[in-house]
């Protein structure tokens, strides 16, 4: 009993309400990496370059917002690339363009976002009704999205002439492009959903202990579908943003965003097993990835090296993040 009584006498641990020291890693890493690059390269620390980094992060930030909810739940979503492609084509064919006489403006954007939402909905339904694991369900939806986009593309690239949509990427407010402000609003909305809605809290709880929810009489399936639908809407908006940047609707609009978004979320501290992390974590993760990409260029790392170096840093970051949870005979898949 000697050992156990010490435990009793130990001062009661301060209960914590929000963030914990475990969550401090990524922000600290962001600051450290930023300072290192800033010290190494005067070019890196210029105002122009910092603006560039932030502007370049906009699309990734929006996509990562969506994927974060899915990851929090312990599921995975690989549909971003396909959904973004389909939504990019949709918006470019609905606003003023060189292929048809449509000029729906904002309504076109809304339709694209809703289409993304519908794609997510289908993924979610496949998961809860057909019991298809989210990995395969969303991989399939990505292919469907690319297929739909290819059909709409039909061999002729739709170039948009809608000044409002094109302006989103070009016009600036307080030094940042409109797209960056859209991303900021998305992060804020995502955070509010995560903090103040049942959808957000249950997504978090599903990742934490789904059985407990079931034992408490909560029907989790509707929430799962809603989370995928929400994520799809974010991808749809991401597709619109890429279209605005390119001035044209491309099937490949979402190329690479699926895995970049997962990387950013995980680097930010959102675990793939669910139940940890959140929108703000992911936002930090996005900035980490973008600072890394930009910084390596600025300090003159050869472009041939960049991909590999980035990959190594990402793996190192995740390894550092899981140190507190390692134990004997742990099974990692």
């Amino acid at each position: 009993m000697t050992v156990t009584s010490e435990v009793v006498n130990a001062p009661r641990r301060q209960s914590r309400r929000g963030a914990s020291f475990r969550d401090a890693g990524p922000p600290v890493a962001l600051i450290v990496i930023f300072l290192i690059f800033a010290a190494l390269s005067p070019q890196f620390r210029s105002t122009d370059n910092v603006q560039n980094i932030v502007d370049a992060a906009a699309v990734l930030a929006v996509v990562t917002c969506g994927i974060t909810f899915v990851l929090m739940m312990g599921s995975i979503d690989l549909s971003a690339a396909g959904v973004m492609g389909a939504c990019a084509l949709t918006v470019s064919l609905l606003v003023a363009n060189n292929r048809n006489d449509n000029d729906f403006g904002l309504l076109g954007i809304a339709v694209a976002v809703l289409l993304g939402c519908a794609f997510g909905c289908v993924s979610g339904l496949a998961l809860v009704l057909l019991k298809v694991p989210s990995f395969m369900a969303t991989l399939g939806m990505s292919a469907v999205g690319l297929g739909v986009a290819t059909l709409m593309f039909a061999g002729v690239q739709p170039n948009i002439s809608d000044t409002m949509v094109k302006g989103l990427a070009i016009e600036r407010f307080l030094g940042f492009s409109y797209l960056t402000w859209i991303a900021a609003v998305c992060i804020l909305v995502g955070w509010l959903i995560q903090r103040y809605t049942r959808l957000g809290r249950y997504a978090f709880a599903i990742g934490g202990a789904e059985e407990v929810l079931l034992l408490s009489g909560v029907k989790v399936n509707p929430y799962k579908v809603a989370v995928f639908a929400l994520a799809g809407a974010f991808y749809g908006l991401g597709g619109v943003m890429v279209t605005s940047q390119l001035g044209a609707g491309l099937v490949q609009a979402g190329d690479g965003y699926d895995f970049s978004a997962i990387t950013a979320a995980v680097v930010g501290g959102t675990l793939l097993t669910g139940g940890r992390g959140g929108i703000l974590h992911s936002a930090v993760g996005v900035m980490l990835v973008m600072v890394l990409t930009n910084g390596l260029v600025q300090i003159g790392v050869s472009p041939y090296w960049q991909g590999g170096v980035e990959g190594l840093i990402v793996v190192a970051a995740v390894a550092a993040a899981v140190i507190p949870q390692r134990r004997r005979n742990q099974v990692v898949k």
């Binding site: 050992v3 209960s15 049942r198 407990v212 004997r328």
Partner: protein, 505 residues
């Protein structure tokens, strides 16, 4: 007298090969604290699960305040005013205490899907106030101590009061097994407080606690109610006797086949082994000897067993096999030293369900079926078939998926895994007969005797005290992570279960 809060009549529940409940009767009066006692496998957990709608009984009926009810789910039970604090805690760790307390019945705390944190905090605070707990409702659950989390669970269960107009029935399943003594005192104060407005069913291994906090104790044995004791003036000894009963066995444990224990150098020698849940464990096992470690849940015996196999980290001490120290204990080093481990969770850790009998049997000792780096099909077939014959494993063939066999035959395959290479020197058996019926148990016992006769040393974590006494040559009693005492257990001079229980609690 008023209508009983809860009444159970003739409840029956079969599982394949086992009759978990065999006509249980139970009456719980309003505002009473009823204790439920019984050995492992007496049917306590099945009964509790039936009371909260997790298990559908095959026969019998449950009455709540005189009304017959059919409980289909936890929610159903809650609507009838029955709630349970589960043994393995059932809180979502990454939510706040308040969210856990109102989970599933948020009411005004969530309006149109939007959280109103202030309302939620107040609702939770109301529940916490009922038990006078100072926990911050907005603290994250995984930042709370174990005892505090238990208070949160009780507060959560008390919320069922809002659903019924009647005092709730609160079931506490082994609430003290992981608490420190001070925390237990707090818990008991809570239970006495609960009694003012609720009915409590309290389950614990520790009989002194049951007698301390309960008004009345009901004893289960073999799925039946065997008696009730008013706790005023009762002593643990009476309860022990009722729990254990008198079981006459006709060499169920093959005691006549007991091997003669080698007296030369010990096969296994453990000195000062310490880990997170056990301290300073030292003992020897001779070739051919069966040593059983007994202790209540939380005594640390399972962890000792896993530590011997290198599956649990240790902080101090050494393990020697035939005098040779095992450096850097790991499961790999243990296998190489001729140690075999049969885990308690057969379906999770013991076997790969979808793989064939042959593959499961050769899983640990691949070299036994291989020629160089390649699997030699003929060699494997001969080897596996010979073991299927020797252990009389009933299977359609060596290529049948192991999950299609009965529990007893699965367990024989798992045991055979360590025998195929012929280099086994020490077997660690963690509840090897769990979930097996009498016949299959007997076969496992016979196998253990045969192995012992060939000089294999065995460490056994038995399913029941009788099994430990029946099989072992020597028994180590563990209590709170330490070896409390060592009892010789030779044929013809077996200790009684009562002697052991005294040391366990």
């Amino acid at each position: 007298m008023s209508v009983p809060a809860l009444e159970v009549r003739g409840l029956v529940k079969h599982y394949p090969g086992v009759k978990a409940l065999d006509g249980v009767d139970l009456v719980v009066q309003q505002n009473e604290v009823l204790g439920l006692a019984g050995e492992n496998g007496a049917g306590k957990s099945t009964l509790l699960k039936a009371l909260v709608g997790l298990v559908a009984p095959d026969a019998g009926s449950i009455y709540v305040r005189g009304e017959p009810v059919r409980l289909r789910s936890v929610v159903d039970a809650a609507n009838h005013g029955i709630g349970m604090v589960f043994q393995e805690q059932s809180l979502v760790p990454n939510l706040t205490a308040a969210e856990n307390i109102v989970l599933g019945s948020e009411g005004p705390a969530v309006r149109r899907g939007v959280y109103r944190w202030e309302v939620m905090r107040r609702l939770a605070q109301e529940q916490l106030d009922k038990i006078g707990s100072p926990i911050d409702p907005l603290a994250r659950t995984d930042s709370l101590s174990f005892a505090d989390r238990q208070m949160v669970e009780i507060a959560k269960v008390l919320r069922i009061e809002e659903r019924t107009q009647h005092p709730p029935v609160v079931i506490l399943d082994e609430p003290t097994s992981v608490l420190e003594s001070k925390e237990i005192d707090t818990l008991f104060a809570q239970i006495r407080r609960l009694r003012e407005f609720a009915t409590v069913i309290f389950v614990s291994h520790r009989l002194d606690e049951v007698l301390d906090v309960c008004d009345r104790v009901s004893v289960l044995r073999g799925g039946q109610s065997v008696g009730e004791v008013a706790t005023a003036g009762a002593v643990p000894r009476e309860l022990h006797r009722m729990m254990i009963g008198s079981t006459g066995s006709d060499d169920h444990y093959h005691e006549n086949a007991a091997a003669t224990v080698g007296s030369e150098q010990p096969r296994l020698s453990v000195r000062g082994l310490s880990g997170t849940t056990f301290q300073d464990i030292s003992f020897d096992v001779a070739p051919g000897e069966i040593v059983s470690i007994v202790g209540v849940h939380g005594s640390g015996r399972e962890d000792v067993c896993r530590a011997l196999f290198g599956a649990e980290p240790t902080t101090a001490g050494e393990i020697r096999m035939d005098g040779k120290k095992i450096d850097l204990p790991s499961t790999r080093a243990a296998c190489a030293a001729g140690i075999g481990y049969v885990p308690a969770e057969r379906k999770l850790e013991g076997m790969v369900g979808a793989m064939s009998v042959a593959e499961n049997m050769t899983l640990a000792k691949q070299q036994a079926r291989c020629a160089g780096p390649f699997v030699a099909p003929k060699k494997q077939a001969t080897l596996v078939d010979s073991w299927i014959r020797r252990l009389s494993i009933r299977t359609p063939g060596r290529d049948t998926a192991i999950q299609r066999l009965s529990g007893g035959n699965q367990q024989k395959v798992v045991l055979a895994r360590w025998l195929v290479a012929g280099d086994i020197r020490l077997l660690l058996l963690d509840h090897p007969t769990r979930g097996l019926d009498i016949g299959a148990r007997s076969e496992v016992y016979r196998l253990m005797r045969e192995l012992a006769a060939t000089g294999v040393a065995t460490v056994l974590l038995a399913d029941s005290l009788e099994e430990a006494i029946g099989m072992a040559d020597r028994i180590l009693v563990m209590n709170d992570g330490r070896v409390a005492t060592e009892v010789a257990c030779p044929n013809g001079a077996k200790p009684s279960p009562l002697d052991l229980v005294k040391e366990m609690v």
